[in-house]
Symmetry: C3
Subunit: 262 residues, 3 copies
């Protein structure tokens, strides 16, 4: 390991941060649409048409196509840094037209997430908590004149509902009927220590720099009797190189890591 010049990094995802003041009218989008076509602009046009008071932002639109896990991770990584009351619209929706529900989650921290309930809420529900979930009535709560046989849900249901909620045109209660807290959750390896082995998940790669992040926190790591004074999460990197490329490591709910102290 020393030969590779490895160093330990900290995963951004776990930093605690309080943003206590309530702000209004922020609507933050993420999707797997990419930035090359007009889908994101159509969503924003619809939102701005709901109210020109809205402030429109983005997490990313470069979620790999259909990658629900990464949608869940990016939401979890960023939502807590936005003011209470911020509305997020997440559209990674391989099941569009199928049975998944369209929902709005209100977290215990006071953030709102508008999304298909397909696993996207997995991490944010764990870390920010579920205050209440309501189902979007897809027939009533859609852009007028979009009720043709086809609907672009990202624009006509999610962006439209998110915009009306963020602008105060509708209240959270008016989104639709209340649901139980039984959201769809993706399965992944949570950080554990057992019989001298620490197990965890590789949630994402640090794509820009090639570092490999894990969800293994300081407390779990320290059960190996190791000392990680200045770190919050365990990560792997090469100084100004790509650890991920060199060792052909990818990420996702299926990627696990085991650490053993020699």
């Amino acid at each position: 390991m020393k030969k590779l010049g490895l160093f330990l990094l900290i995963a951004l995802g776990t930093l605690a941060c309080s943003t206590s003041s309530t702000k209004k009218n922020a609507l933050v989008f993420q999707s797997d649409f990419g930035l090359k076509d007009g889908a994101v602009a159509a969503m924003k046009g619809v939102a701005f048409g709901v109210s020109d008071k809205l402030r429109l932002f983005d997490i990313t639109h470069e979620i790999p196509p259909y990658n629900i896990w990464e949608a869940s991770y990016r939401l979890d990584q960023t939502a807590k840094y936005w003011p209470v009351g911020t509305v997020f619209v997440s559209v990674v929706d391989p099941g569009v037209g199928a049975e998944r529900k369209s929902v709005v989650l209100k977290t215990k921290s006071g953030h709102y997430i508008v999304t298909p309930d397909n696993g996207t809420l997995t991490l944010v529900a764990e870390h920010l908590g579920i205050e209440e979930i309501r189902e979007i009535d897809e027939v009533k709560k859609r852009l007028s004149n979009s009720d043709e046989s086809y609907t672009f849900h990202g624009r006509d249901v999610y962006a439209y509902t998110g915009a009306r909620l963020a602008a105060g045109v509708i209240s959270f209660e008016e989104v639709g009927n209340i649901l139980s807290n039984e959201i769809v959750r993706l399965d992944y390896q949570k950080p554990v220590y057992e019989n001298g082995v620490v197990r965890g998940n590789i949630p994402v790669l640090d794509v820009q720099y090639g570092n490999v992040w894990t969800d293994i926190d300081k407390n779990t790591f320290s059960k190996l009797n190791s000392y990680l004074n200045s770190l919050l999460n365990f990560s792997l990197g090469i100084n100004q190189g790509s650890f991920a490329d060199q060792f052909k490591i990818a990420s996702g709910e299926a990627w696990k890591i085991e650490l053993i102290k020699e």
Copy 2:
């Protein structure tokens, strides 16, 4: 065809949508500049310098370099979702410095498009209609102190004029002289049925998902005596794969498709 698990998709571009309320101060950019350098930020800086009341948005800046057709398509795909009065600035301009005119189109729907008249207006003129076209006086209507021997037209003429129009600093009439409605139009295959064959164009690929879109609408398609209950336009895809890659299909005004019922 069945072996490939083909399914039919709907092209976004044809959904009708009314956004009837008039909003002010929205300025929406598209270009082939990409997001890696400072050209887009220079345009936005100039626009924000005209008025800090302006709300600045983007369609995309990833139009393939010099691809006027795709500029035309992206405008057409998104403009109708923005409120009446929205001003669009489109800068895909292989003829910069040449004879093409710089114009502002007011559509019958009440949207404004600031662009070189090089074909970019082809589709939006067809679908939203031409209310009136005015020529930008490139000598008078440019950023002060930019009248050196060289001008970055995107910034000094288009962004600057678009910003002044969107902010109400100038009226549409003050843009410049009125022109005839004879804009430069790109030639492409419109959807037709003839002697048992449906012909159409492949305007763009759904780049993010690899689907192939056509401009063949439901009515034209149904002349094959086929039944397409839930669709608006005819498209080709593979479930979670790229039809375009697999069959090496590209797009543009020159790409045509023929459908024959067996």
Copy 3:
């Protein structure tokens, strides 16, 4: 050279432009974070949490990782087009956690740049001038509850300080102690004429179109007794092709060019 259909282009970076009016509340970001993860959105969430009056913009987040030179160039290319009083936050920071200082530069033109002092200020200091530099106190001037053993400086120090400065929560004087004007400067070949040779730097490629830009201005070039009536800077391109690809040219502070008149 003629066979290649070369033509001369003008580098954007040198156009003079006055934007004299003072505007408030604009905060403009650039980084090497890319747009695929949540880092940029976390910075913007923190900034919007400081004040919902702030207007948030971007230069680019596609600076090549760790490329301080390009950060310097992009700032220099765009800052002058933004109104006086605009605050820029630049985070290209290979030395994070090391000895480099965190500073705010006030330029003579009245723009503010929040950045690690690692060379990022090289070009903007030359062209817009140094009015005053203050050091950010990293312990006091950071997001509350981020004072764990690890800090994401881009978010907790730079975005946070930039937002407070742009929103008027703190004055420039309250950023921290005044420093001397001895910033870290990158070395590069400035345009010179000597003994029949013009020397200059290739600061960046025009990545979207493949043109090669130099910093050789019209006055220096003309010392070859050449006449460049309509140009401001000397550049190399192929009509609708990539000069950079064809001749394998890259850019940066280490790339030099020599011109000799035959």
